[in-house]
Assembly symmetry: D2
Homo-oligomer: 345 residues x 4
Amino acid sequence: MVRAAVIGAAGYTGVELVRLLLAHPDLQVTAVTSTADAGRPLDDLYPALAGCGLTLQAPVVAEIAQVADVAFLAVPHTAALPLVPPLLDAGLTVVDLSADFRLQDAATYEAWYETTHTSPELLASAVYGLPEMSRVGLAGANLIACPGCYPTASILAAIPALESGVSAAGKVVVDAISGVSGAGRSANATTHYCSANESLATYKVATHRHTPEIAQALTLAAGRDVSVVFTPHLAPLTRGLLATVYLDVTDGFTTLDAVELYAARYSGEAFVTVHPAGRMPSTAEVRGSNRAHIGVAVDRASGTLIATCAIDNLVKGSGGQAIQCANIALGLPETDGLTAPAPVV
Amino acid sequence: MVRAAVIGAAGYTGVELVRLLLAHPDLQVTAVTSTADAGRPLDDLYPALAGCGLTLQAPVVAEIAQVADVAFLAVPHTAALPLVPPLLDAGLTVVDLSADFRLQDAATYEAWYETTHTSPELLASAVYGLPEMSRVGLAGANLIACPGCYPTASILAAIPALESGVSAAGKVVVDAISGVSGAGRSANATTHYCSANESLATYKVATHRHTPEIAQALTLAAGRDVSVVFTPHLAPLTRGLLATVYLDVTDGFTTLDAVELYAARYSGEAFVTVHPAGRMPSTAEVRGSNRAHIGVAVDRASGTLIATCAIDNLVKGSGGQAIQCANIALGLPETDGLTAPAPVV
Amino acid sequence: MVRAAVIGAAGYTGVELVRLLLAHPDLQVTAVTSTADAGRPLDDLYPALAGCGLTLQAPVVAEIAQVADVAFLAVPHTAALPLVPPLLDAGLTVVDLSADFRLQDAATYEAWYETTHTSPELLASAVYGLPEMSRVGLAGANLIACPGCYPTASILAAIPALESGVSAAGKVVVDAISGVSGAGRSANATTHYCSANESLATYKVATHRHTPEIAQALTLAAGRDVSVVFTPHLAPLTRGLLATVYLDVTDGFTTLDAVELYAARYSGEAFVTVHPAGRMPSTAEVRGSNRAHIGVAVDRASGTLIATCAIDNLVKGSGGQAIQCANIALGLPETDGLTAPAPVV
Amino acid sequence: MVRAAVIGAAGYTGVELVRLLLAHPDLQVTAVTSTADAGRPLDDLYPALAGCGLTLQAPVVAEIAQVADVAFLAVPHTAALPLVPPLLDAGLTVVDLSADFRLQDAATYEAWYETTHTSPELLASAVYGLPEMSRVGLAGANLIACPGCYPTASILAAIPALESGVSAAGKVVVDAISGVSGAGRSANATTHYCSANESLATYKVATHRHTPEIAQALTLAAGRDVSVVFTPHLAPLTRGLLATVYLDVTDGFTTLDAVELYAARYSGEAFVTVHPAGRMPSTAEVRGSNRAHIGVAVDRASGTLIATCAIDNLVKGSGGQAIQCANIALGLPETDGLTAPAPVV
């Protein structure tokens, strides 16, 4: 068994990682940490894990290094900066779910996150943790920067059209909707039940921090600069994220062409399903699982490809994808611990 | 008191009309009809209306004409076709909430609704019931074609930029999210609680019948052909509709410019609020009311205006707007019966 | 117009009062107060009230007394204690929605609320604000103590059987379910969307502070000591409260007898509907309205009367009932401002 | 591997069984049937099972008997009657999730289900499938009658007090709340999203068919006749069931006594957790899992024990419990296939 620590296990991302790891055949949770809740049994915070036997401890790198081979960092952005170098020095494989090592350009990170990047020298070796795009680099990687939930769905929806050259678009519109768990465990006016329930909201238009991350990946896929217009929405559900992307395509490109292109691009992928023409995905189809379901259509009149990708923001958009990356990095079967069917209703 | 009949009062649109009319100072409901439920007290179907004293009757034009001055048609598309001519002949003002008289071009209607239009000669005199766009024509109109819920929000979000020439876009992307009541009262796999709850779905991409209606209005506003790429989504809430539109704008146009433009365009409108820069609307703000709340932002890098409009699909997107139109047509104060503040939570 | 102040207008109870008062024909809101949000326009906090023109001010009794004839206190328990005496001294009618003057016995208050009652001398003159039980006392009252949301529904469900002697029960089981708005506007682990959504919870079994209030009313109705076993539950909806009561009844008493008894008891009540045998209420029927819908059944085998009462916790369980009481106290028509039909869906 | 057939796999109960069986280490799904949807791939109905490779077939006993060792019957009541005898004759172990073999007395069945029982001779050998009550009988059983969802939670909440004699109650009040999936996959006015959402409803008071089943079990546990007053409620969530029971207890019995009694009763149970004093369960704690979480309290003043049990109606209340029973009957580890931790949010 490979020994795994979850740093930041009291948040939604962290506890979902723990849940998935508890059913993993080759990874064993040996440490769970939380600064605020150190000392508390994890199932005291989350009775759903009754009997898991894990107690939160303070995040001390030296202690973690003694009991773990891989560390999952489920911490807010900037909090991973001081943790990553000593964990790497101690020889651990680091799977970082924060934003701190996702952007290859330190200046872009500093502009969007309004803070100094303290380890820019590590950015070149950090591998972006989207296996469907960067599987080769993940094998043997020791620092993996897992994508945000919005980027995961948006990138999967857009790259087949960009990589193939079917779209020469210089601008991609990304319109996405998220459930409330994406806002994390912190209780505030936005996450209050009576605010979020029975409401649809638009927020952070053109200013959401996932924008440069999406642009970086689409630019890489297209082989040229691609600018991204990204509008996130909040909807009244706990789990689920649906991203719809709009790309100009060449005249004569049809919905059937698009289905064929996407199906071919993802034909070997264990977690990606491309729906046939006329069928669009819902997040219910992927709730609780590491799957991404994609539907595509072309509006012939305007020459626009519309692609929608549905994921569970806490699994493929977070903890599940982190495990998928760790499996690849550690040489384990990629689907290990991620194959349990999700609840249908 | 002006006497009003609601044709199709058993559906969600019809019963919402009844609810609003019961509090209207100048309009009195004198007849409510339903083919399937004729003979039943309305509060038997909807206990929320306990004591309203209305009984559903079969929709017989001759009987309706005897007791009503204005008829609201809350019926499915094609069902208004045989009703409108005799109601007009009987001298009633007709406010049609179906799609049958919205498209000025009969051929477009026939292509999208796959049926023959039996009264194409009435299309020229039908006034599109979006007061913020066609108030002049509504005064004294005898046939009003109320917009669909998606078009109401989408058009309000887009026209300031098109009318003003700020956007010369030939293509407008409309990405919209609706609550489940938009699908009507019919019980089916889509409207089952366990299907709709905790799920986000994309549907009818590039094929939704509201597309030509939006395109017709945007083309009129722009004074040139505008093509519309329209993607509807379904989210787990009962009431609420949020439409986001994307338009190319000229270099140098800023968010503050956009706020100023939109605020000026809607400055005299009783039911439209434009939010200041940095604030985007939610449907909770307009739930139960006839209001439309709009937020705008400009992505400078790509020269894109993003505008979001939030409405209650059953009020401003349906029954409330129909009453607003009737008020104008009948020479009543435009806001009559529509001013009660909506529940805040 | 009678001038009204809402003390504590930033909370859910307060803002719902404001919403209802804005549509009231005889009461005019002249002041809204909030300690935390003094200085902010109310529609800045609640965009649903866009254009209401009210600005929150600090709760200074001298200022309130100059502009208001009646003061509604939508404050937490203990916060009304220092406010009520000076408001009464200034000649205002006080409608207190806190718990501070509900219990006639100061010692009971002090035991359950773990604080000293600073104005026990006012308890004798405070009238319990449940018009269906204490209408006579409300006429001309200058201090009204409005019931909690759970007591309103529970008492309405139980008193016909107790007053009539049909039930000689010494113990009444009250099992009730509330929506999340009952927990107020404070953001915490319980009110976080992801905690409340998709969950049913039992809480404060046999320890909820509404227990002595229900017992006091049932004891009064029965003319003998009645003990109450009260279990509250939390369910994932914003508005709505459903209370089910269980009372032993005499042999031979039937469901039809119960329907007849309850219908007679509430025959003159504008806001109470008793359903026919075989029909039970839902909170959807009363959402947004001041109505209480009651259904009754008798289990013959065990001689048990089961009565369910559905209310909207923020209207009949709070702000609406306060206005109903104020109407009576001020000699206005009891239903003033409370007759707008509620949304059906 | 033991080969398993799921009869009625297109409904919510059936497909949840399939989901759980797909992750079972010792049971393999070899046949899934549906009368209405025979011929369709299961993942066509439920895209969440994409790639499961199962196709629905007509429920022909001879064909099922050739490929399966155990048959799970996820069919409506009365539909199991003709299927059970031939399946038993063919040597299969039958796990029936319908109501047809739950009541030991055929007359009671016929009175409540208004139909003739065609195999009363099998009732004596049918074992009630609640392992925490009837584990001994389940070992080697060939006909298991799984409890309904309401009985599972209600019985678990009540029996420690009755078996122990702590309660001598002749009447037990059971007040329970269910999510909408309990109403099944059929689309109708009750299961329409806009009816169920944002509403709490009471239904079938004193007439729900689960009543005699609960009474039978409580009578067995108490060793004397116990009558049950059962009130079900419907709340707006998909999964989850919370049952609260009220039992008279002897003077001096305390909450701590109750916690001790319940904890001892269930100390060896893998799927039952008894919370410490002061903590009550929520269904979020057990969502997606086979667990039952129980909280207890005693109201000293009235001598009443209140116990709440939370389950997932589709797992412990249905498919999960069926697998737990099958594991016991077949000599497999009782927790096989049921240990994956459930999502925390």
